[in-house]
């Protein structure tokens, strides 16, 4: 069958559009057609902005070749995770408390997308307020894994991952607080990156855990990922934690020194995933790179530290949802009853669990034992990585200990769900850039390999990912393996 436009990667679509070989209108129509065929089952989107996308495409079709060329994503359809605010589309964070909320402004990354000519197709599903690893905690409906419809796409950026994997869009934005870009990217067989903390503005990202949250790109090809990263990265006066433009331009010299931390290959790792990772490491060795056994000894404390810090910060951030200034309100006689009734009806069970846990961890008499202790453990985890990056350029690990699990399999067991984040939370705790790449298959499902670099080495990480893309299996679409 002839290659349809929805199968093309983002950079190719942009180039075809600049060359005048295809119209933006055709690109958008092909992707909407694909979305309409697949999304009734996969349910990656919470909101599809078909008319806005068509209008944007029609405007771009009148642009001159020069106007098309100066905008690096002109003609390219993009999806946005629904915890990133948009002025012309609703933003719900997959929560009832924000149902029908229209932000009065765009997130900085959204403004940057429009300036770069990206055509925004819609808003994607997530676990409510990005709290979860399966997208089953969406208040509206779960998203399904395009590779196995009875399995989860991962989370919390599960809608973005599924949309990219299924060919509904070539690019999407996600957010990553403990692995929420990388884990669904691994489960859905795509590429996802969490940049260095502060590299991408968080202005307009609905806050979950402010010391950990980071927006990042998701794609099927590394050069697409890089194109999107280049558009969204950079300082923003509206985000005081955004980093100054201190690009580390040190060129990457070969061979690379690659650290393999033994703590990430121990008990709990599916042997088939281990096998896929071993083959990846052998290929790297055959390419002339140096593989070193390293230790990150405090890894085993990472989940405990993360599940104190993230809920503590979340409990504080989510105190703003009180039914007064925006969102859902349950009318009541007095103010306290109004707050409680609004929050009781507006939040789902996982969000309530985390608010309770975090409120307890910050409450009088417990702060030192919980939040402060966890922040000290975070220092130990950072030091582990600092030490490692004295002797290696990259650290390579599995992205997840297991492949995508079945819908419903873990929804009654929060702790088991949390433990699945073991390989991804450390990058957030230490602020490091990390990428998950689709490296192979286990049990017929995608497997991700995670590459981590030192803080600010985002460019080196992208350069490495681009160089090793040739070692990865070719891009496929789910139905090619279905029958």
């Amino acid at each position: 069958m002839a290659k349809s436009l929805w199968m093309e990667d983002a950079v190719t679509l942009h180039e075809l559009f600049v060359a005048g070989e295809v119209r933006a209108t055709d690109i958008v129509e092909h992707h909407l057609e694909r979305l309409n065929a697949r999304d009734p089952v996969i349910r990656a989107f919470l909101h599809v902005a078909a008319e806005q996308a068509r209008a944007q495409a029609a405007v771009q079709d009148r642009w001159s070749p020069a106007e098309r060329a100066e905008r690096p994503l002109s003609g390219v359809p993009v999806a946005i995770k629904d915890n990133i605010v948009t002025e012309t589309m609703p933003t719900t964070a997959a929560s009832r408390i924000l149902q029908n909320f229209y932000a009065p402004y765009n997130a900085t990354v959204v403004d940057k997308l429009y300036e770069a000519g990206a055509i925004v197709i819609g808003k994607t599903n997530l676990d409510e307020f990005a709290m979860g690893s399966s997208t089953e905690h969406s208040a509206f409906y779960p998203t399904r894994n395009p590779w196995a419809l009875d399995r989860v796409p991962g989370g919390s950026s599960g809608g973005s991952a599924a949309a990219v994997a299924a060919g509904m869009v070539p690019l999407a934005l996600g957010s990553d607080t403990g692995g929420s870009i990388r884990q669904p990217s691994a489960y859905c067989g795509i590429i996802g990156m969490k940049p260095t903390y502060g590299r991408v503005s968080r202005y307009g990202l609905i806050a979950f855990a402010s010391s950990l949250d980071q927006i990042g790109p998701m794609a099927r090809r590394v050069r697409d990922l890089r194109a999107l990263y280049d558009v969204i990265a950079g300082p923003d006066p509206r985000d005081a934690t955004s980093l100054p433009d201190t690009t580390d331009a040190t060129p990457l010299s070969r061979p690379w020194r690659i650290g393999v931390p033994r703590e990430y290959f121990g008990e709990g790792l599916d042997p088939e995933i281990r096998h896929v990772l071993d083959r990846h490491l052998s290929q790297l060795r055959a390419e002339g790179h140096e593989i070193r056994d390293i230790s990150l000894p405090h890894t085993r404390f990472a989940i405990a530290a993360y599940y104190l810090i993230a809920p503590a910060e979340a409990s504080s951030n989510l105190s703003r949802y009180d039914g007064i200034r925006y969102g859902f309100r349950r009318e009541s006689r007095d103010l306290v009853t109004l707050y409680e009734a609004t929050r009781d009806e507006g939040f789902g069970p996982e969000v309530k669990r985390r608010i309770l846990l975090g409120t307890h961890a910050l409450s009088s008499g417990y702060y030192d034992a919980y939040y402060l202790t966890a922040q000290k453990v975070r220092t130990l985890i950072r030091r582990d990585f600092d030490d490692a990056f004295h002797t290696v350029d990259f650290v390579v690990t599995p992205t997840t200990p297991e492949v995508a699990f079945r819908l419903g399999e873990r929804s009654d067991d929060p702790l088991t769900m949390y433990l699945g984040d073991i390989y991804t939370v450390t990058a957030n705790l230490a602020g490091l850039p990390a990428i998950s790449l689709p490296v192979g298959w286990a049990h017929g499902l995608p497997v991700g390999v995670q590459w981590l670099a030192k803080p600010l080495a985002d460019h080196q990480l992208l350069e490495a990912a681009e160089a090793l893309e040739g070692l990865l299996p070719p891009v496929r679409f789910p139905e090619e393996v279905e029958g």
Binding site: P244, K376, R382, L429
Partner: protein, 103 residues
């Protein structure tokens, strides 16, 4: 040593969440499993370890103190459930003391 129902209800009140008696056993089980798991951190000697308050060492940036455009009152209140005269409307906060007017 886990949290009792009484303690959980106290935390819920601090967080302005209402828990029903039906929800309580499940919440207690889930919270206590997580608290039991995180208690492993108590085994570490952290006396000389500073906490991480920011992952990237940087100075607090200060913007120039100049007036810049901001949201209009209309835009800022457009999502509010109840607005009156450009203000967010809430139920009465102070109890009236017999016979006063509504203001």
């Amino acid at each position: 040593m886990g949290l009792s129902d009484q303690e959980i209800l106290h935390v819920a009140r601090l967080a302005r969440l209402r828990l029903t008696t039906a929800e309580l056993p499940g919440i207690r089980r889930d919270l206590n499993r997580v608290l039991d798991y995180v208690s492993q951190l108590q085994a570490l000697d952290l006396a000389d370890i500073p906490p991480t308050m920011h992952v990237v060492n940087m100075e607090m940036p200060l913007r120039d103190d100049v007036v810049a455009p901001s949201l209009s009152v209309e835009e800022a209140t457009k999502n509010a459930p109840q607005v009156e005269a450009g203000m967010f409307k809430v139920p009465r906060i102070v109890e009236s003391e017999g016979g006063g007017d509504d203001g």
